[in-house]
Amino acid sequence: MKGFCNRREFLRHLSSGLSALSLSSGFVQIENLFKTAPAYAAEPLLKEVMFYKKLDDLRIECEICPKGCKIADRERGYCGNKENRKGIYYSLVYAQACAVHNDPIEKKPLFHYLPGTTALSIAAAGCNFECKFCQNWQIAQFRPEQVDSYTLPPDQVVKMAKDQGSPTIAYTYSEPVVFYEYMHDTARLGRSQGIGSVMISNGYIKEKPLVELCKHLTAVKVDLKAFTEKFYKETCSGELKPVLETLERLKKIGIWYELVVLILPTLNDSEKEIGEMSRWISEKLGGDVPVHFTRFHPMYKIKNLPPTPVSTLERARKIAQDAGIHYVYVGNVPGHEGEHTYCPSCKKMVIKRTGFFILENHVKGGKCSFCNYPIPGVWEKPPAIQPKKLTEFKRYGMS
């Protein structure tokens, strides 16, 4: 007998209960607690986390993101989707997709990456930030057992992308850093079959996992939330410095990446802040990294601010261009001239967009078709790369 108690315990309870009943007439019987149970959600699949360190007394330290959560047995990290069970740290979201959709790559947004193609986009529950303006909080700010998920192993994700004619898989909507193992294995498998992978992230990831992951990714989009520690701490429960370190690492690694800056009225829209940010990008990352200034809409815990005025985005774009950034876009404003790509040399429009759609593309072989000036980005489908092993992953970072 399984459940409230086993057979022996049941009989003991019954016997004690009957004895007690004979002694006291004030109590009623307990048999109603023993009921047949219908089915309900079972335990999730468990996958050991790739980067963590064992501590004393069954505690662990997560080494995926700079939060570095130290987690006692039976507890979860800040992301809520990994759990320490007797000193082993498990991901609860491996192969558990809570969102699957085939999106234009421009929606990510990645404007210099296979324009006009689609990306099979997947997410799993959880995030290592808590942005008060979170656009997908119903999945990013929930724990895996609280959202509906599909079991979708890496091989099925890759097959689905191929079946739908998508050259890319995007890890997006929530925060892929916190479903690292799922993303890593899918990206590696995809690469071996000629399907690229892009991570749409807040960039809050430690060096070792980032370096390992970039072996299998084809591009990264990073949300640079603001340029002050105050904003990161108070509005995102995160830190700026590690994100800037990630950006410098991406440059060093040589992978394609683009930046998105969501502008929130009064919180991160000052000329001073945008200027400092733009100069830092230009100096540390170079003028060729695309920067998207996007429009905020009231959401989650910030509902008291209006949508970002278009003029604020235009001002930010001008500041960034003046700082030497060549490809600066205005996002979430369909039909705006800041959606198009212009050649820095001849100044002609080389990619014309509206919303997520490509109307014209004059980039040929990675160059402006008007003046032959090289336009940086990923313009051709990446070749299939066979990793050395496609069996079980090695767990890194163990001391």
Binding site: S16, K35, Y40, R74, Y78, Q141
Partner: protein
């Protein structure tokens, strides 16, 4: 004088003369239902916390259901000051209530609310006239409840028992530092709440007692672990969904943990063989934390503050007016 009238007056005199004795015997007889106890009304200017320790409530894995029942009823009498167990339960709950019993099953079989203790509480609710179908034993996850021995009953007749699982409110409730979706069991189904935490140490908040146990009522407790969970725990407990419903706290201290929580560690646990009851969550936590501190001292361990996990949330909850945090104004009734 009319003989009938004389007889009648004789009855009255006898009744008046015997009243004090009747009251005495009534009290004694009632106490005999549970144990021979004396109860007094709770002091008006103090919070009352009741600690009842009895060897043998659980011996090894074998619970003494009869003893547990006795202790629970004695406790509810002491908490309310009502010498009748039936009266005490009726003072707290009405037949119209839907009572949620929030247990704590995170620690698995090693350190979770004992189902036998919950059974005794269910019996008390029945005495108060609460129908079985209006009693819900709940925690975060159904799987966790089942793992510690609760029989799951999602929607059948009788006492229901299930986890919130994915059933949280769609809308966010914001209060102080907290922004969370509440378990719909608490927000939609319950009109009254009995909180049944366990007596244990916690790696982040210092202790996990009454206040911390209600992290299990929101969808995102993992977001509120910084700074020893302070002021998050206090802010959460200040929400009307909790404050207005909470009627009674029964902390399961049959086994306690003084170190290594919240997961079960045999080497950090001890047989406290008791329960701690109160209607005041802050007072109960203040007393419970002191019990854990005392055990740590006895074992030569540093205090919780020294160990980097001072249970600051108790003082914060006191400051917020959620209960009594000053030991001088807490009456501890031991038995």
């Amino acid at each position: 004088m009319n003989p009938q009238r004389r007889t009648f007056l004789g009855y009255i005199v006898s009744l008046i003369a015997t009243f004090p004795f009747l009251t005495f015997f009534q009290r004694k007889a009632t106490a005999g239902e549970t144990s021979s106890i004396k109860v007094s009304s709770p002091p008006g200017d103090k919070a009352r916390v009741v600690i009842l320790r009895r060897e043998g409530m659980v011996k090894g894995d074998a619970p003494d259901v009869s003893l547990i029942r006795k202790v629970i009823n004695e406790g509810v009498c002491q908490v309310t000051g009502n010498p009748l167990a039936s009266g005490a339960w009726k003072e707290l709950f009405t037949p119209k209530d839907t009572v949620g019993i929030k247990v704590n099953c995170l620690g698995g079989r090693g350190i979770s609310t004992h189902p036998e203790l919950v059974m005794a509480v269910v019996e008390g609710l029945r005495i108060a006239g609460v129908p079985d179908s209006n009693i819900i034993i709940w925690d975060r996850l159904t799987t966790e409840l089942e793992a510690v021995g609760f029989k799951i009953n999602l929607q059948g007749d009788g006492v229901r028992c299930f986890g919130t699982d994915s059933n949280y409110e769609a809308d966010l409730e914001e209060i102080g530092s907290i922004g969370s979706c509440f378990s719909s069991i608490l927000s939609r189904q319950c009109t009254a709440l009995i909180n049944m935490p366990v007596l244990k140490d916690h790696d982040l908040s210092g202790v996990s007692l009454s206040l911390k146990n209600l992290y299990g009522a929101i969808h995102n407790p993992n977001k509120y672990h910084d700074n020893n969970c302070d002021p998050y725990i206090a802010d959460l407990n200040s929400h009307p969904l909790i404050r207005k419903r909470l009627k009674l706290i029964i902390c399961d201290g049959i086994k306690g943990m003084y170190n290594g929580g919240p997961g079960f560690k045999p080497h950090g646990s001890w047989e406290f063989q008791g329960i701690i009851m109160s209607r005041d969550p802050v007072a109960l936590d203040r007393v419970g934390a002191e019990i854990i501190e005392e055990k740590r001292r006895e074992k030569g361990l540093p205090g919780l503050k020294e160990a980097g996990r001072e249970p600051k949330h108790i003082a914060t909850a006191f400051k917020k007016g959620l209960g009594m945090g000053d030991m001088k104004r807490i009456e501890v009734v031991k038995g």
